[in-house]
Amino acid sequence: MYNLIRFVKKYHFILLFLLIEGFSVFLLATNNHYQGNKINAFSQKYVGSLHAGLSNISDFFKLKQTNKFLADENAKLHSLLEKQSILSNDSLIFEAPLFKYQSARVINNSVHKSNNYLTLNKGTRHGIKEGMGVITENGVIGIIHSVSDRFSLVISVLHQKSSISVRLKNEMFLGRMLWSGFDYRKTTIDDIPNHANLNIGDTIISSGNSAIFPDGIIIGKVISFQKIPGDNFYKIQIQFFEDLNRIHYVYVAESLIKDEKELLELNAKDD
C-alpha cells in the first residue's frame, strides 16, 4: 500500500496527464452522439444569450448594409407582385403554398472549422422546429439542428455531415452537395452522371426533393469539373453565391407538405 502511494506520488504528473487526456479523447470520440448534443444544448442556452448581447453591438455597424439588403428585397418583391397581378387578370391559379417563411437574425456564425454551426435568435417560442431549412436570397445556409426556447442551432452547409440535394439549373440531374472542409467559399458536388452536359459557370440550384428546402433556390456556380476515369460521375467544384461569412439575416423555411410527403413515402417502404 505504501509503495502504491509512493508510486502515485512519484508519477502523479504522468498519471494525471493520462487521465485528463484520456477523458478529452473520450469526449472527442463521443462528440457526435449523445454527449455532443448535450454540450451543444448547454452552450446554446447560456452562451446563446451572450452571443445575442454582443451581436446587438455588431448589428449597429451593419445597419447600412442591412438597409441596402432590405431595399433590394423590397424592390424584388414589388416586381414580383406586379407580375402576379398581370397573371391573375386572365387566369385563376390556385396553388397551395408549399413553404412558410420567417426571418431570423444570425447571432453567431463560424466558417473556418471543419464542422460549422450558426446560432439564430429564434426558437420554439417563435415556432422553429428541428429539421427546418435555413436559406437566404442567394443560397442555402443549413438545417436546424436543435432548438431551445429562444435560440436555435443550425448545421451549416459547411459541415462534414451535411449533404444537400441539388441539381443543375438547366437539366434535371440530381447531385449531392458535400463540403470538403477548407475554403468556405467553395464546395463539391457528387453524383452528377458524366453524360450530363456540364459547363463552367453553370448554376446549381436546390432540388426540393427532400422537402426541407424549396425547389430552385440558387446555390452557386460551377468553377471546375473533371471526369474521373472508371467512375460514372463528375467531380465538380462550385463557388457559393452567398458569402457565408457575412450572412446577417436569414429565412427559416417551414415545409407545409413535409409530413404528408414523408408519410406517403413511409408507406411505400413498408411494402
Binding site: 504528473f13 478529452s24 469526449l27 463560424s110 473556418h112 464542422n115 463540403w179 468556405y184 467559399r185
Partner: protein, 172 residues
C-alpha cells in the same frame, strides 16, 4: 506560490473573449486560424504545480470548446502541451536564467529563448488541433499549410502581446 497564479484566473475570461469574439471572426483565406489564448499556458511560471498546470490547461480548453460549439478538440491539444511544457523548460531554459516564480515572458527570457520555446509549443498545439479537426476530409498538404501558417501568425500575435505586457510592467 499560488499568489503568482492569481492573475491567470482573471486573464482567462479576457483571453477567451478576445479569442472567440475577435480572432475567430477574422479569417484570412481559410488557412490562417490563430489561437493566441495558449499564451496563458506557455507563460505559466516554472514553479506552477504540475497538477495545476494540467487542470488549468484542460479547463481552458473546455471553455474554448464550449464557446466554439465543439467538444474535445481544444482540451486535448491544451493538455498535451501542458504535459510537454516542463520537459521543454528543462531542455531550452538553462538554470539560473530566470527565477522559478517568474512568468515566462519575452523580456525575461530574451527573444531567442522565448521564440524557440513558444514556437515549439504553439506548433505542437496547432498540429494536434488541426489534425483532429480536419483529419477525415482534407489533403495532407492543406493541413500542413494550415498548421504552418496558423502557428506563425499565432506566434506573431503572442509576441505583440508580450510587448504589451512588458510596457504595463514598466509603468508600475
Amino acid at each position: 506560490m499560488i499568489k503568482q497564479l492569481y492573475k491567470y484566473f482573471w486573464l482567462t475570461p479576457i483571453f477567451i473573449f478576445i479569442q472567440v469574439y475577435i480572432l475567430n471572426q477574422v479569417l484570412f483565406n481559410g488557412y490562417i486560424n490563430p489561437y493566441f489564448y495558449i499564451m496563458l499556458i506557455i507563460c505559466l511560471p516554472q514553479i506552477t504545480p504540475r497538477w495545476f498546470l494540467l487542470t488549468f490547461a484542460f479547463l481552458l480548453g473546455v471553455f474554448l470548446d464550449v464557446f466554439e460549439g465543439s467538444i474535445g478538440f481544444h482540451s486535448t491539444a491544451c493538455v498535451m502541451i501542458a504535459f510537454l511544457k516542463p520537459a521543454f523548460e528543462r531542455i531550452i531554459i538553462p538554470k539560473n536564467t530566470i527565477s522559478a516564480e517568474q512568468d515566462l515572458f519575452l523580456q525575461k527570457l530574451g527573444f531567442k529563448m522565448f521564440s524557440v520555446f513558444a514556437f515549439m509549443l504553439i506548433f505542437i498545439h496547432h498540429t494536434i488541433l488541426f489534425l483532429l479537426a480536419h483529419f477525415k476530409l482534407a489533403t495532407f498538404i492543406d493541413i500542413i499549410g494550415k498548421i504552418a501558417l496558423s502557428s506563425f501568425i499565432t506566434f506573431v500575435i503572442i509576441l505583440v502581446c508580450q510587448f504589451f505586457f512588458f510596457n504595463s510592467d514598466r509603468r508600475k
